[in-house]
Subunit: 440 residues, 2 copies
């Protein structure tokens, strides 16, 4: 196999920039062979790149014999083309390129490990094994195009509201929330862990920057093999000081609204590609707010399902709930007994100032008001059977003027599965990590 060098050639445009305005202009495109048709005397190549695709048309006699011969490329060959833009209504973008020169930069074997013709969708594990190739599919371009829009919208929304982007450590000396399911690491001669959540650090930093956020990896050593769990998650953490849960409920629903608004405004074609343009719609805000007590009452009266007060809601019960409440809504005031130590109890202490943001049957976010009084936090640790000594360096911070604060955490991939209508969370991650998957 010989390789041509890129040399002085540079792309003059992305495919989507080639519009009828550029008719008769010479352009250079670069990308991959998405598809081709050979009609004997005519050949059509669909070149795909970062943003889209265009058709290259070769007619024997019009282009040189040498070029016609060279145009015999396979799926996903990497190449560049120099050519003239012509209007052709039946082609993508109403345009075709009449080529004068190709550079074939890299080839592929005749048989690819997964279908790249767009005719079928290969099995997910096979696709993940060949992820860099798989990500070039139209479906994945749509999923990750929406993800990019979401991340940009989140940052824009939060920065405009004076949130500071912070960076907290991923290697920690002791268990964040006293949880199991931590990955242990050897840190020189000491034992350490990978962080499960930025919870304690973002709380500390709300005592410095007041409004903070972080979008960063967290690690969960859960051996569950469901379609909703992965071991390396990418989480949006938000915390604000001088406020409580009600400030968070408002900011979060505005954020949800803004993100969906931006996706619909800027990426409608990608939503359509995933058949989600009628499902990922603007929610009505403020979102409906139900108390935990109302939810278990509803489950009892409407579905005759008995949830014991103080218990978590079962998957089966959530499924019923999802029939009744189909889009985004809040469940607030959970029993303190099933919430972590840092959550603020309500005035009536068996309840807590906490909430989940639900999307139908599925939980998208948890959050609430936090405890900011040191003694109260120590008592809460003890009541959860945790040893305050292991939290010493965190507890110290509460000696130095911690403000009242509240916040939430949101799994980026989980939200993408909702927005894109995916069946498996692994589809929402470029390189997912599960108990069985460490590569690529």
């Amino acid at each position: 196999m010989t390789f041509e060098e890129i040399g002085e050639w540079r792309k003059t445009h992305y495919t989507v920039e080639i519009t009828p305005k550029l008719v008769d202009r010479e352009v250079i495109l670069g990308g991959w062979v998405r598809n081709f048709r050979d009609l004997g005397g005519m050949r059509f190549i669909i070149i795909q790149d970062k943003f889209g695709e265009r058709q290259i048309t070769l007619k024997k006699g019009v282009v040189s014999d040498e070029l016609f011969e060279k145009s015999k490329m396979g799926y996903q060959y990497c190449f560049m083309v120099k050519g003239i833009v012509k209007v052709f209504k039946a082609a993508p973008g109403g345009i075709e390129i009449i080529p004068s020169e190709f550079k074939i930069l890299n080839r592929t074997p005749e048989k690819l490990p997964i279908d790249m013709s767009g005719e079928t969708i290969s099995e997910l594990d096979l696709r993940l094994n060949n992820r860099a190739l798989d990500l070039r599919s139209k479906r994945n371009q749509a999923i990750f195009g929406i993800r990019g829009e979401m991340l940009n919208a989140i940052r824009k929304f939060l920065l405009e509201r004076n949130f500071t982007e912070v960076t907290t450590p991923k290697i920690i000396g002791s268990a964040t929330e006293g949880g199991t399911e931590l990955f242990p690491i050897m840190y020189f001669d000491k034992e350490a862990f990978l962080t499960q959540s930025a919870q304690l650090y973002k709380e500390q930093l709300s005592g410095v920057y007041e409004r903070v956020f972080e979008i960063s990896p967290c690690f969960r050593a859960e051996k569950s093999r469901t379609k909703r769990h992965i071991c390396e998650i990418f989480v949006l953490d938000v915390e604000l000081a001088f406020g409580d849960m009600y400030d968070i409920l408002k900011i979060l629903e505005e954020l949800v609204y803004y993100v969906i608004e931006q996706i619909r405004k800027n990426q409608m074609s990608l939503l359509k590609c995933l058949n989600m343009e009628k499902k990922t719609i603007l929610p009505e805000i403020p979102l409906e707010r139900y108390k935990y007590d109302e939810i278990i009452e509803l489950l009892d009266t409407k579905y005759n399902m008995d949830v014991e007060w103080g218990e978590d809601i079962s998957t089966e019960a959530y499924r019923k709930l999802g029939e009744q409440l189909q889009y985004y809504y809040y469940i607030t005031h959970w029993p303190m007994s099933i919430k972590p130590f840092y959550i603020m109890p309500s005035k009536e202490a068996k309840y807590s100032e906490s909430f989940d943001l639900q999307m139908g049957m599925l939980e998208l976010t948890s959050g609430g008001t936090r405890v900011h009084n040191k003694q109260q936090l120590i008592d809460a640790l003890e009541s959860k059977g945790l040893n305050p000594k292991s939290f010493e360096s965190h507890l110290n911070v509460f000696d130095y003027g911690m403000p009242p604060h509240a916040g939430f955490g949101l799994g980026i991939a989980r939200w993408i599965t909702f927005l894109c209508g995916l069946d498996d969370i692994r589809e929402a991650v470029m390189y997912p990590r599960t108990p069985d998957r460490l590569t690529p």
Copy 2:
């Protein structure tokens, strides 16, 4: 200690928003006691918040006795104040607040572990032990304000140039660059590692999204205890396809220029606080480019320092170089023998298509053109004594149309040390990790 509750009170403004325009208006501020003076019948409290500070003035007889008594707060008490804005030229912002009510939200002990009066700077390790408190100092507000501006500027610059923000895994199945200095982790029943660099994944993704970047944690198990090394670093990784090192040299110098321009435009007061307004200045671009051969020639003729061809440049030699070349410049075409396997050799194969971006004596960035031909990459691995079998899932990607590509990596904290004139890289990180430091 009693705590007051925030209740319905919410901040109406940040301190910096309180300007003479708001004279005679009632406002609510929240923050911490930065300083206070007690002149018997008069008391002055400086309240600090996320963005700045303002003076609260209490005159006996003007404010109630009860309020005057309550105003006796210590350093870094967390409190809110309701009061009327008055013009007072000698105070910060030309403003003072005449309070009508306080809420003391959290207290501090009389003696704080580090100096927060701004009169002295406590020893760094002591400050890091009490980081959440330490970060409220003016100096740290300046450092991390500049860091925030830098991160936003980097993102804006790259997104405007069609770079896609990607997320690569932090837990990897095999050694990224075949390096030692990896942190091993137990991944269920398998051995795995924390990533040292996003190198291989960003290369793969340049074969999907063409232009990609990531800003994410990487982990280096180096036991060096210098002022330039930390174990958890935060790295900007950039990669572009259909181009080479010269495209990267241009983008990187434009990025450096843009970031400094934005910092000078939006954060000049923070630069001044660090006495860096005359040092962190706009570089002339294009930056000077020196070949490795020219650098060792210069060291020989000007300083009589003999660097053997093919060797790295010693710290001592860099120190000399820093006398001669004081700001940003490039060193290109390093010997292939000291570059990693994925770097493209030059036509004259003992050289490589690689570069460092230097700032005086210090290296800020490394990068170059990458190999995109699979067989050439296998040969390069073998010539570096690495086993291609361990890179199988990475090498597979090169079967499926990898484009020519090039890129660089840049340590965020290292750059902050230059921009802010810091002596120790730990000052540039919110919660640094070193061989000796796992907390807070």
